[in-house]
Symmetry: C2
Subunit: 448 residues, 2 copies
């Protein structure tokens, strides 16, 4: 089956479906997956899919039609034919008088429809993910991950342009250091190891080396529950920069978000249209509100008092984004002035207002997509906070090397992190982060 | 210490060391790490490091010299001064009449020299890695990872230009599927999980979706021994493409290597010079030799017979690269015609020569940097090979979904993989892959 059967075909170069129209009037060879089949007797046609998209092929010759009898969607075909303009066909042209070669036949009917939009209703998600391998061949599913690749490339483009070094930190660590029980443990040649739940320590260490750094890498959380927001494995953008203060750090996070949205809307329009996605409004300066201000606004608007609470409720996150979209000209909001008592040991406390940590959350289209903060950069203060807040042993190999960076000089610095899947989800208007994940992992799902 | 003490300074914008020269005659503010200090009484000067490089500062005023007494390398400084051209200084200019502010003092002397090249002799590598956090502040160490970032970006640039989709596959898997015992196991909410030892199955699945795909992600091998070639965690480039045959696949791998070398030598010259790196010779078509041909050449040249062996010896790999460099105009060689009996179940057997698998190794500067092959794409043949070769259960969740891709149609396809660290090592002429790894992981090392 590997040998192309027609002499004409063997001597022809493959043309991608996206280029078919430009060969109007000529004979071309296309190769791809049987994507759709309508053999109705009167009007027979098939659609072939390749990496560039789709092409429609009109079958008149009964001999060609017969070759396709019993062939299921997914069958690998080579087709030669004459290019005829047809405004109603995908790509604006179709093949006539085709000669079809079945390269690889498919006997089984696909368990999931390839040709129509797949249901993303909450009750259908498990079916969607169970059939992911085949379901991704659906163009609308493909679109999600084309957008995701653009989001990732857009992030890198922004950071490269702003003098950030890209690096890779290890994900196999000698112990859980940031606190929290949500770590995966494994046996490492008889020693205990954990999977990194963040790149926090490494990106800070790297500030001591390159000043401005980022990585985009897998991150692991043994999240004990299956929600629309959480997964056990996800792709994390981790950013850290030296000689910065909180305001500038927020500028960088906001500028990056705007730059990514611009790139996505510039380069992925057909994919965005499939999802009816609307471009987010991200102004030059994203509004900054303190948590107390948001509690006050929310309480006033909804009658439900959140005043004095130490976090934002999910409903409050949604509300403040709507409020901001309507009244502040931004689909994103920075939340500042987080209680110092809930801060992590590496957070820097606000010197002027010691009840607050120098931290922000970035809320975008109703969901927190990023947390950032200034880090405590003074060795003695950091040691004190480590002992007081995290009960950490400075000699533990999980802390020891991190502390070295500070012992030998670290500038004022801060950073933030962002989940690639969550940003993709919000750009496209999806409801569950797993819809923006090729092969999601949660407490119940470890395959495909 | 966070408040800048001088009014002049507070109102000045920071200038990076790389831009100092362009401000000749003006007052500028630089901020960075104390990188070198010479307070000899007669000629006092310091060198400050920031993300752009170094700047030399000449101290005449005794008051300024006194501020630096007891300050160790790594101390964070702000310095204002007048820019004076000085061809012998780094960057071609230095600061005169400086006003120094100690932003963050460092009291301890660095455990490793920052200012001189660090020893990479085999017996010193453990010291190098133990002190990695501080040692990376050495500019020559930094250079390695600037080159690495360029290698990575060069790979992505090549694949984007050639229509490959970037994706992320999960690293948490439901079982070891590719055979071999070199997998890390972990408890996943009461189930057994393993860390991915390759992206093999996922990249093939993705051929069914996007036809041409790549990912650059961490990969895990529980390698039981510490060598100069192996690590337990490394960054893997994984490439897979549909509608391809072996020759074209080798062209893609070779073109990518050449393209990456061009990018690195175009964009990282100062870093390459620090390591006296010489640009590899990678011709338009890299020589292809069968394993038998190499055995014959090697046996003839060295008197040691390897004829009939089923693999290349490490010494043979080095020899064939030297031979190729001298006689074939290439620092890289493709080795073809690998024995079918040693092939993995997913390799395609050569139909014309069934004793061989359609596989290649790419040997570059004496070391195998990539293995590639055509994959068996016919569902029935693949099922047969899975049962015969790997003894695999097609219903195991580690195989089941992979097989789905084939059941519903896969074109002829193949791919290859390449270790980012190994390519970096060979570009720079390093001797151990760990030298090209920020924080190496092996059987003995899990920190920093």
């Amino acid at each position: 089956m590997l040998v192309l059967q027609s002499v004409t075909m063997a001597s022809m170069e493959r043309v991608l479906t996206g280029d078919v129209k430009s060969h109007g009037g000529s004979q071309v060879l296309v190769r791809g997956w049987l994507h759709k089949k309508r053999l109705l007797g009167g009007l027979n046609f098939i659609v072939v899919r390749d990496r560039a998209g789709l092409v429609q092929i009109v079958l008149q010759n009964e001999e060609e039609v017969e070759k396709l009898r019993g062939m299921q969607i997914g069958t690998i075909l080579s087709v030669t034919g004459k290019v005829v303009e047809e405004p109603r066909a995908p790509g604006g042209a179709e093949l006539h008088e085709p000669q079809v070669t079945v390269e690889v036949p498919v006997a089984d009917e696909s368990p999931i429809e390839i040709d129509k939009p797949l249901s993303h209703k909450p009750e259908n998600l498990e079916t969607l993910f169970d059939n992911r391998v085949v379901g991704l061949r659906n163009l609308k599913e493909q679109a999600i991950f084309k957008v995701q690749a653009e989001v990732k490339e857009g992030m890198r483009r922004y950071f490269r342009a702003n003098d950030f070094m890209e690096f890779n930190s290890p994900k196999l660590l000698p112990g859980a250091t940031e606190g929290g029980a949500e770590v995966f443990k494994l046996d490492y040649f008889g020693k205990d190891a954990t999977l990194a739940q963040s790149a926090q320590f490494y990106k800070q260490i790297m500030v001591g080396v390159y000043e401005r750094v980022f990585e985009i890498n897998p991150t692991y959380r043994a999240e004990p529950s299956a929600t629309t927001r959480h997964m056990t494995e996800f792709i994390h953008l981790d950013v850290e920069m030296g000689f910065v203060e909180l305001e500038e750090l927020m500028d960088v996070a906001g500028n990056m978000l705007r730059s990514v949205a611009d790139d996505v809307w510039k380069n992925q329009e057909p994919q965005l249209n499939m999802w009816d996605a609307t471009k987010p409004v991200v102004p030059g300066t994203i509004p900054r509100l303190t948590m107390a201000e948001i509690h006050e606004l929310y309480t006033k608007a909804t009658g439900t008092s959140t005043i004095g609470e130490n976090d934002l409720r999910p409903d409050e996150e949604r509300w403040i984004c709507e409020h901001s979209g309507k009244n502040l000209g931004s689909d994103a909001v920075f939340v500042t002035d987080w209680p110092a008592k809930d801060a992590k040991f590496y957070h820097r406390v606000n010197e002027q207002k010691p009840e607050f940590a120098e931290r922000f959350d970035l809320i975008f289209r109703g969901v927190e997509i990023s947390t950032g903060s200034m880090r405590e950069h003074r060795y003695d203060v950091l040691m004190k906070q480590l002992k007081e807040k995290a009960g950490g042993d400075p000699e533990h190999p999980g802390f020891k090397y991190y502390l070295q960076a500070f012992k030998y000089g670290m500038p004022p610095h801060g950073g933030f992190a962002m989940g690639l899947e969550r940003v993709t989800e919000k750009m496209l208007g999806l409801a569950n982060v797993k819809e923006a994940t090729l092969f999601p992992r949660d407490i119940n799902r470890l395959a495909p």
